[in-house]
Subunit: 392 residues, 2 copies
């Protein structure tokens, strides 16, 4: 049956038990459920049609038999138009205790609107619907085939950031994603998993318990309806949501052709802060991160402080330099800790006028770097942590 | 004795046996030897005085007793004005078989002129004076306290580059520098060591044999006169020559406050291509490299090909992407290698119009990715190296 009953009463009835979704505008909300069944994630034609006519009128146009500019798109939507599958997905959502969130809801993460016509029509959420927007959010993503190094760095970053109130978003995959979610949970921080398939399906299967824990304090989110399988296309589409919902995206480990580079590309297109954790150039698991640094102009991330700087929370690093490069180091070079020297001798050795050398020695004495002995001769004062005199 | 006899005959006599230096303009060349004794490397006042009046007149002004704008600088030059030390340095150069190179010599590396008033007045060279300029030159520098990882990467880069005609410049220190020089020598390539002290002094002592080997086929170079000690100031000044003489500077490993960051800063100021090799964020020996990437906007270097790209020799990397992100992957997702499916079924699963799905299946068949069986049903064709269907 391809008929969609979009009357308010029918819509409200269909939406019963899927959160507050039906309170806003049941017809619009219900039409969006239909859209999430008809169109693959990121379908630009669907996004354009909805933007122009609103979800309900757009759905009527989509399901009509007119021969207009939408005819080609209609060809891919109509084979899926079946009120049975729509209601099955709503039943599955109720069983999974999933909440439906639509753009008109004040809790909708407005950052997703940056995706334009590729923005999702609705989100299905297991867990806490609050806090998907408005708070500092970092996506920590990476390879499933992670190394112990990568997982340790991901966990360190996630624990530090989540522990200080930053929401850690990831994709719930094995490897880096899982390490980030787990570390965020361990600090009592908030973490959100975006899935490629329906939120009623634990994917990967081995992360069923982890996803349940994430849903307890954070959220498990998808734009695909409950029951939807996580296809490769949907994984790639899901990556755009991870990039869009975050203020900053950090790739921790990724192979040369990892899907995380797709997330990084989306982050770049959306103008999100983008960074990557470097690793040994001999490690294939870091090759994708080095591509982010080289080809995507990503920021080199070595610590949570670097990520905070990307969020605009941290102080920028001080000016770089190779230690004391000023004239004082020339003078201090000329001093010896053992052999006392006269000012004239030091001036000649360091290449200064007598008066200049005398003034600089006075300053060095104040700083505790030089001392004048009872014999009237100058010596250097060695301090713990001082580099040897011939350190390059 | 502070008198400098700059007459042509006296100058030519003093310069006897230090290469072709005296052929060009003995007075100018001899005055530059005096300057290298009087002024510390990079002394901008000396550079300015010489730029304005030429080396010989500048020296007369420096050694006069006038109370002019140079009085302050004169205060640091005159204590060193001693014809005895000048002649001792020339004697040491003759014993070390060092050649004096001055800016008017066609073999002078013109890239050094980018240093302006901080350019060296002359260079002392043990080995081959040719090839300091005009050929592609890469500086490979880094920490003395290098790890086996860093030394291996430095050696790989240096061997690959030197083996293909690139001159590898470094600072002859233990660690990264030594690894780069050795690897360049091992391929029969050309390598040049810039020292902070006189070229007659092997520094570090443990690299005496290495320096001798470098001088056999490449060159050991310094702006300080023979006999000069390698002070900390001179190490830092030497770094500007390494940056200036190179087309590209690559930091392989460096601690957070390594002197290599000083070389990197000079490279940035001079507009040289600047890169750093990443490493584990948990390795202190890579912390300086990550600073180069973060704070100096350095290029992430993972291979000799990356360095060639910095030299403008390599093809730029292709567009980045996370694998097949096009619509074809949606269609291929819907195919199974075992279960045959009809076009209408595949169109619905993948979200395409019937005609589109049919056309794409035809293309996929041509590419060997899909096949239509005798039963008229479509199946996917698994190929070695294909990612599993749910690879993110």
């Amino acid at each position: 049956m391809t008929h969609a009953d979009l009357t308010m009463d029918a819509a409200a009835a269909a939406l019963a038990g899927v959160g507050r979704a039906q309170e806003l505008d049941p017809s619009d909300t219900y039409a969006r459920v239909w859209w999430s069944v008809l169109a693959e994630p990121g379908d630009g034609a669907a996004g354009e049609l909805i933007a122009r006519f609103g979800a309900t009128d757009a759905l009527r146009i989509a399901l009509s038999d007119t021969d207009d500019e939408w005819a080609s798109a209609r060809g891919r939507w109509k084979p899926r138009a079946d009120s049975g599958s729509v209601h099955r997905s709503l039943d599955a959502a109720r069983r999974a205790d999933a909440t439906l969130l639509v753009p008109s809801d004040p809790r909708w993460p407005s950052r997703l609107d940056d995706l334009g016509v590729h923005a999702p029509h609705a989100l299905w959420i297991r867990g806490d619907v609050e806090g998907l927007g408005g708070v500092p959010t970092v996506a920590i993503v990476g390879a499933r085939a992670a190394t112990p190094y990568g997982e340790a760095v991901a966990a360190d970053l996630a624990a530090d950031l989540a522990g200080s109130g930053v929401v850690v978003v990831s994709g719930a995959a094995y490897g880096i994603d899982g390490a980030a979610h787990r570390a965020a949970l361990s600090t009592g921080g908030r973490t959100v998993a975006f899935l490629a398939g329906g939120v009623d399906r634990a994917y990967p299967r081995g992360h069923e318990a982890l996803l349940a824990r994430i849903a307890e304090t954070g959220a498990v989110v998808s734009e695909t309806p409950c029951g939807a399988a996580p296809t490769k296309w949907r994984f790639l589409s899901r990556n755009r949501l991870i990039a869009a919902v975050a203020d900053a995206v950090v790739v921790v480990e990724a192979g040369h052709r990892s899907g995380s580079l797709n997330t990084a590309a989306h982050a770049g297109q959306l103008g999100r802060a983008l960074g990557a954790v470097p690793g040994p150039v001999t490690s294939a698991a870091s090759a994708g991160c080095h591509r982010v640094l080289r080809e995507f102009d990503g920021v080199c991330v070595t610590s949570a402080a670097d990520v905070r700087e990307m969020l605009g929370q941290g102080a920028s690093a001080g000016p770089a330099g190779g230690g004391r490069t000023d004239e004082t180091s020339r003078l201090l070079d000329a001093l010896s800790p053992r052999v006392g020297r006269e000012v004239a001798d030091l001036a000649r050795r360091a290449g200064f006028a007598y008066a200049d050398a005398q003034a600089m020695l006075g300053l060095a004495e104040l700083e505790g770097r030089a001392s004048r002995g009872d014999d009237g001769l100058w010596r250097s004062v060695m301090r713990r942590g001082d580099a040897p005199a011939r350190d390059r």
